[in-house]
């Protein structure tokens, strides 16, 4: 474990690895398609045998996004929700995006995976999920 490894466990089994933070998908041995979240079949060729766990790349780009201004009770707004493409894996996933004011988020912005608090389990353990952070542009000092 690295010195600043987060305490807690993933909010769902098989979805992510904490140290270092990685999303976990499945890769098809027949056609090479990667799926996230992991599935017990290949969505491209329908193979069901030999699907392997795949650690996904951590760098992505915003394919589209919205600023959610109204949500059901108990959900704090506003927040940025995006479809993020991971080009190394040819995977698109839904995620919240942080690290920029809503008005500064744009299509094609580069983003990086990070862990995010995801509530608390019934036994008191902290739960961890994922989100993506806008990568600081060159020359900019990260906050």
């Amino acid at each position: 474990m690295s010195a600043n490894a987060p305490a807690g466990r993933p909010f769902r089994d098989g979805l992510l690895r904490l140290d270092p933070p990685r999303l976990l998908g499945s890769r098809c041995p027949s056609c090479g398609t990667t799926a996230f979240p992991a599935r017990e079949f290949c969505p491209s060729c329908r193979a069901v045998d030999g699907l392997a766990e795949a650690e996904l790349g951590t760098e992505g780009r915003i394919a589209t996004f919205t600023v959610v201004r109204q949500a059901p009770p108990g959900v704090a707004v506003p927040y940025v929700l995006a479809q993020v493409d991971l080009p190394d894996d040819d995977v698109r996933l839904l995620t919240t995006v942080v690290g920029a004011a809503p008005e500064d988020v744009a299509l094609d912005l580069p983003v990086t995976l990070e862990l995010a608090p995801f509530g608390t389990a019934a036994d008191g353990t902290a739960l961890l999920g994922y989100r993506f952070r806008v990568r600081p542009s060159r020359g900019e000092v990260p906050a």
């Binding site: 799926a35 996004f65 995006a82 040819d90 995620t95």
Partner: protein
């Protein structure tokens, strides 16, 4: 294999809107069903079975309705496909008639939402999208953002869907909203999920719609001898698991739903005179029409702003006012679309009548499933 059409012997609705808690699911459903039976001049004793579409009605809502309506004891089934629930009930009723199981059936779509839903609807809590913050409005907002960037469309053109559908519903006595709205009102409305605002979103509504369907033998039982609009067939497909990073607005699920409809009915897309389209959000009407192949890719927004999808245009979409204006009690919508197509095909739609309407399509898309291009999609093809 082709199945026989189902004849629409009668239709009925209660006006969609926001009703107090004492106007219950059962009461609305009974009101719509009685109106459909009266429209056909049919007695309760003529009915073989009841098909009910709903999402939030709870266990055996259909049987609770039957016990209030007077169809207790009959075969009753409940159908949940989120916003396509009502249309799915129509499909199952059509299949039962074609199979010879029944000759006269009542289909009801019904929902009571305003006392139990606030802030918008979202996927099942067990779905990964819900866990990371998805709400329906957000999904359509992301679709709109990409559409604007990919097709050179404007925000005003997308907003024109709401203006057009509200202009139509001025003439629909069953619509929740019956007053026109301006482009400025849509653009200036409170933001919900950018770039979409409040008037880009269909409302949370209560309501019910009912359809009395019959086989030829059923029509004889009912003593109906004149022409009736027919449900030629109902396509049903589910969202597919997506791979890769292709066009976010590909709407392959809509393409497949259209193909199902054309295959089941031998009607081609060029024969469709009007469409009742699931415009749960403004952008949804545009990308779904394009996915079906009824409007060329990337041109739906401009078509709307240019009036091509207005009553009187080349392909009228949502003469009823659609979900944006008629309201969207989710389980009721598919049945309400069949009511509207029936009135249009009879030529009795009044100020919103599509002149010369011979063949119509009603499309519903219900729910979302993580990683797919949708939950369920239905395509009802009707002819006069």
């Amino acid at each position: 294999m082709s199945l026989a059409p189902a004849h629409v012997a009668g239709v009925g609705m209660v006006r969609f809107g926001k009703y107090p808690a004492e106007v219950t699911l059962e009461r609305m459903a009974v009101g719509a069903a009685r109106a459909a039976l009266a429209d056909a001049g049919a007695a309760l004793t003529a009915v073989d079975g009841l098909y009910v579409g709903h999402v939030f009605g709870g266990p055996v809502a259909g049987q609770r309705i039957a016990a209030q309506l007077g169809l207790d004891g009959r075969p009753v089934s409940n159908h949940e496909n989120y916003c396509a629930s009502g249309a799915t009930a129509v499909r199952e009723a059509w299949v039962a008639l074609a199979a010879g199981l029944h000759d006269v059936v009542v289909v009801i779509g019904v929902e009571k939402m305003t006392d139990r839903i606030s802030g918008g609807v979202r996927p099942d809590p067990g779905d990964l999208d819900a866990a990371v913050g998805y709400v329906m409005a957000a999904g359509h907002a992301m679709s709109a953002r990409r559409y604007l960037a990919d097709h050179g469309a404007t925000r005003e053109q997308i907003a024109a869907v709401a203006v057009k559908n509200h202009a139509h519903s001025v003439h629909n006595p069953y619509a929740q909203y019956q007053t026109p709205i301006s482009l400025e009102q849509v653009l200036g409305a409170r933001p919900i999920a950018e770039p979409l605002g409040l008037l880009d979103c269909s409302p949370i509504s209560d309501g019910a719609a009912a359809v009395l369907l019959a086989s030829p033998a059923g029509l004889r039982r009912l003593g109906i001898t004149g022409p009736t609009p027919r449900v030629l067939g109902v396509g049903l497909v589910s969202g597919g698991v997506l791979t890769g990073t292709g066009d976010l607005n590909a709407e392959d699920v809509s393409r497949r739903a259209g193909e199902e409809a054309w295959k089941l009915t031998a009607v081609g897309p060029d024969e469709i005179d009007l469409v009742e389209m699931h415009d749960c959000f403004t952008i949804a009407e545009i990308v779904r029409m394009e996915g079906l192949g009824l409007i060329p890719r990337g041109q739906g927004a401009a078509w709307t702003a240019d009036g091509h999808t207005s009553v009187g245009g080349r392909l009228p979409v949502n003469p009823s006012g659609g979900l944006l204006s008629r309201g969207h009690p989710v389980g009721a919508t598919g049945a309400a679309q069949v009511c509207e197509l029936t009135w249009q095909l009879r030529g009795t739609a009044g100020g919103r009548q599509v002149e010369g309407a011979r063949t119509g399509l009603a499309y519903c898309k219900g729910g979302t499933v993580n990683g797919t291009d949708g939950g369920s999609v239905t395509t009802v093809v009707m002819a006069r």
